[in-house]
Every structure is written in C-alpha cells, then in structure tokens.
C-alpha cells in the first residue's frame, strides 16, 4: 500500500532559515540518507523537495479559460516543502517512516519533530476478502 508523507513546514516570506552552516549540512545529509534508506529497503516510489514558496503562484482559470495567477499569501499559510511516496506493508510502517523524517536535525542537531502529514494514495480496489 502506498502513502504520501508530506512535510508542510514552509511559510511564505520566511525565506531560507538562518541556521549555522554545520546544522544545515547535517539536515541535508539526514534527508539524503533518508531517501537512500528508502531506496535500499525497496520502499521508495518517489521523493521531491520543492522550491521556496516566494515564487509560488496560485492559478485559476478565468472565464476565457486563461490563467489568473495570484501570488500574495497570508504569512500564516503553510506550504508543502517536500514529499515522499512510499510503498509499504502496513500503515504502521508508514507512520514509523514519517516519525523518522519528523525527527530530522535542526539547530544544534536537535530533532525538529516537525509535523508530517501521512495520506493513503488511492489505489485499485482492495481484495474482496472474507
């Protein structure tokens, strides 16, 4: 079963966090290692990090079908910073992986314990089990 783990931690206008170089490097290394671990366990379906929200646009179609873009967001709006799609044997396994990502190191190497949203990916019908 597939799950998407989402890191909804970016806020508009905050820019790059002012972390010491060493902490930033430790964070990046952690994230790379996490993806490598998912690759090696045969659970990785996809993973991407997204650009900062400063350049983000919300697009709607106008009456003529042409795009109307909006790029001014309230500061409280949360943005997706990145996601992983994993294929695992159980929801518990997806939660364990999310907890692992949540504890990525921040300033001073302290775990961030950031919220990771775990969502099931829609799939084919489950077996007609008895």
């Amino acid at each position: 079963m597939k799950y998407m783990l989402m890191m909804n931690t970016m806020k508009a206008g905050q820019g790059v966090p002012a972390w010491p170089k060493k902490d930033l490097q430790a964070h990046v290394a952690f994230m790379m290692k996490f993806v490598k671990q998912l690759q090696e366990s045969g659970e990785l379906v996809a993973a991407e990090g997204l650009a900062f929200p400063d350049q983000a646009k919300v697009v709607r179609a106008g009456k003529d079908g042409l795009p109307i873009t909006d790029g001014v967001f309230p500061e409280s709006k949360e943005f997706l910073a990145g996601y992983w799609i994993v294929d695992v044997d159980s929801p518990e396994r997806a939660y364990a992986l999310a907890a692992q990502a949540s504890a990525a190191p921040g300033i001073g190497g302290e775990p961030l314990n950031m919220p990771i949203e775990v969502r099931a990916v829609m799939s084919c019908p489950p077996p007609e089990m008895l």
């Binding site: 090696e40 659970e43 829609m122 089990m129 008895l130």
Partner: protein, 419 residues
C-alpha cells in the same frame, strides 16, 4: 502463427521453464541469489534470440547452459580478481578448475517449483518482498514487469528483490524440500502469497491499468502447478477453485468505463463457463477428502453465486450456512460482515443491521468503509433513504480505492435523484 502470437508463446514457455531451470542451476552451483540472477539473464537472452531464430530443440537445456555459462563467467572473474589481489602474497597460485559444464539435461525435478515456492515465501521475508521474489524466481517475470504490475520504479523493485534474496541467504535455508511437518506449517504462507498475487491482479483489472501484467492469470498458473504437485491437498485445490470461480466473473465486473458492477447487477452471460465448470469440479473433488479449509469454504460460496442463473435465484440459505462454518474457523470481522449480508438476504435487513452493531465495537473494522457500505445497502433495503445516503457517502470518504469510491458516490447520487 503471427509474430505477436509466437512472442506470447515463447513468453509462456519461458515462464513454465523458469523454476525448472533455476532449480537445476542452484543444484549445480549452490548459490540461490546468484543463480536467480543468472537465470533471469538467460530468460531475457532467450526472448531476444528465440523470437529471431526460433525455439531451440531443447529449450530447457539451452537456458540451463546460458545461465550456467553466466555463473561460470562470474566465478572466473571473481577468482581472477582474488588472484590479482593475492598475486603479490601468494605467487604461483593456479586458477581453480571451473565446475564441469557437462549438462545432465535429462535430470529434471518437478518438485523444484515447490522447493522454490517454499524458499520465496520464507517467513523471514515481508509479504511484499515474498510476492516480488515469487513472481521473479518461480513466475519467471522480469523485474521491470513486476515493477510495472505494482506501479513502483524498477530500481525500487530490484532493491526489494535483492534484499529478499539477502534475507534468504542470512536465514540459511538450503535448497531442499522441507520435511512434511515443515511443509504443513509453511504451505499456508505460500498459498497466502499466491492468493495476494491473484487479488492484486483481479482487483486492478479495470480501467487505466491496461499495462499491468496479468497477475491473476499468473497466480492461477502458479497455483495450478502447485496443485499438479500436491493433488491430494484440499486447500491447494480449494485455492485454485476459488481463483477460477472468482476470475470467471472478471469480464462482468466492470463496464467499458471501468466502473464497478456489483454481483447482483452483473450480466451473467459474460461469466466464463469453462472456469466455473473447472472450479466446481475441483471443489467437488475435495469434498470427499474430509475437513474443509478456509479456501475451500470461500470457493464454495463463490460457487453458489456462480451457479445462480439470475441474482434472485441465489441460494442465500446455503451461503449463510457456509459463512456459519467459516465463522467457527476464523475470528475475522470481514467474515461477520459478509455473513450479515447473507443474514439480511435470508431474514431481512433488520437482522443484518443487528449483526452490524456488533462490528461497531470491533476496532479492526469499525472504521472500515465496507461496514458503512453494507449498512447503507441495508438502510436502502429498509427504505431509509437519508440514512443510506449518509452511509454511502461516509464509505466513499473512507475507501482508498478510486473505482470503489466512484461507485459509492454514484449510489448516494442515485438515491438523491430518485425523488
């Protein structure tokens, strides 16, 4: 024969040969993981070569030879590498003689398929890796085909398979037939993996998934092979019967738009009579052999549905009786849920609803969409339109299956529109 038909023919032949060839190569080289890789390469080479030059006279021998040569090349380069490494320290070491390439093409052990299945469904593996390894080592599918079937990147599937092989190596199982006692203990795990492969294919056969390998046909083929090797085992026969009796309804199960059609609304003329006949024959054969297992009982229920010419002819009394037996064998809330449907069909929807109340307190199923879907159906039978709409909608919110969700939303919409 058209080119396409002959390619299909070659593929079919290769899949039948895969476990026999693998068994022979493991016997010769005593290394499951490496032999499995070598056989995979031989299969891929055969697809190219045979489709151009025709199938060789002894296809099995050809595959064993190509895979063995591959193994020898690896062995030689390993020895050469080690020799280079040691060259300074141990001058004058000679290259170890390669194992004889004298092929005993006549020796062939049909039990190899069974030994391999027991290996691939070893308890040390997770379910998903057992499925992947079974499809590759016993089914002869390529990593790419398996990856596409499960909609994951090929690199991920390759890693899953190689880790599975690693776990087998670590667990130290040898390529031997398990004892009768071990077989009894471990056969259920093998059957479960085959059952899951079947379901994966059966439930995904609708709509957008046209590129998926035919997993359900593959599961039927593998189970048929196991049945050929263990014809006296009633659960193997039961599982094969269950697959056939379920697969028989495949064409009728979805419409051209890929929408699900419930059993009661299916066009029964589309059901596969041959599969039904074979399934019932298998099932009848097991009845004389004593106690019925889970697969046999599920197959028996499928048979009652398949034998009804029209939905209203279904012998619900018999289905209810079969669920009573199943309930005594297993504490699975899904059994209770399905039994509730039979109860509602025999004694009316109120009695069905009563039974569902016991499931509301069962954490394993209380939030499962099927509980809401069944409740919605009973409420609709009782004429409680609002209640039915509410539960169809909640079921739609809870399912993670797109076709199922579309079906449930459509049920709610249908009730709202009939005013």
């Amino acid at each position: 024969m058209s080119a396409e038909a002959s390619a299909h023919c070659i593929e079919h032949q290769l899949r039948e040969l895969a476990p026999q060839v693998l068994g022979a190569v493991i016997r010769r080289f005593h290394d499951f993981a490496a032999a499995e890789d070598a056989v995979q390469e031989a299969l891929i080479a055969a697809v190219m070569k045979w489709s151009q030059e025709g199938v060789p006279e002894n296809p099995r021998g050809w595959l064993i030879q190509v895979a063995s040569r591959r193994m020898l090349d690896d062995l030689r380069s390993n020895i050469a590498r080690r020799r280079r490494e040691k060259a300074v320290a141990q001058e004058g070491e000679t290259l170890a003689p390669a194992p004889e390439l004298d092929l005993e093409l006549h020796t062939m052990d049909p039990d190899d398929t069974l030994i391999l299945l027991f290996m691939c469904c070893h308890p040390a593996l997770t379910t998903s890796s057992a499925i992947a390894l079974t499809l590759r080592a016993v089914g002869g599918l390529t990593t790419g085909e398996i990856a596409r079937a499960f909609l994951v990147p090929e690199a991920t599937m390759a890693q899953r398979i190689s880790r599975a092989k690693q776990s087998i190596k670590v667990s130290g199982v040898s390529f031997l037939m398990p004892t009768e006692k071990e077989q009894r203990e471990r056969l259920p795990a093998v059957l479960h993996v085959l059952y899951l492969i079947f379901n994966e294919g059966y439930t995904s056969s609708s709509g957008q998934r046209v590129h998926r390998v035919e997993l359900s046909s593959e599961a039927i083929r593998l189970t048929r092979n196991v049945y050929g090797l263990l014809p006296e085992n009633t659960e193997v026969a039961g599982l094969l019967a269950l697959m056939l009796l379920t697969d028989a309804r495949r064409e009728a199960r979805t419409n051209a738009e890929g929408e699900l059609i419930p059993l009661t609304k299916q066009d029964r003329a589309l059901w596969n009579r041959e599969e039904i006949r074979e399934g019932i024959e298998l099932l009848t054969g097991t009845l004389a052999k004593g106690a019925a297992g889970m697969y046999q009982l599920q197959a028996a229920i499928a048979a009652v549905h398949d034998e009804a010419a029209r939905a209203e002819d279904t012998d619900w009394m018999q289905i209810l009786a079969l669920y009573e037996v199943l309930k005594r064998m297993s504490d699975n809330p899904m059994v209770t849920l399905n039994r509730a449907v039979a109860v509602a069909m025999v004694f009316g929807p109120e009695r069905g609803l009563d039974l569902l109340k016991t499931l509301d307190r069962d954490a394993r199923i209380a939030e499962h969409y099927r509980l809401d879907a069944v409740r919605a159906h009973f409420l609709e039978m009782l004429g409680d339109k609002e209640g039915a709409i509410r539960h169809y909608r909640r079921a739609a919110e809870r399912t993670t299956s797109t076709p199922e969700q579309n079906y449930l939303i459509a049920q709610a919409a249908r009730l709202r529109e009939v005013n």
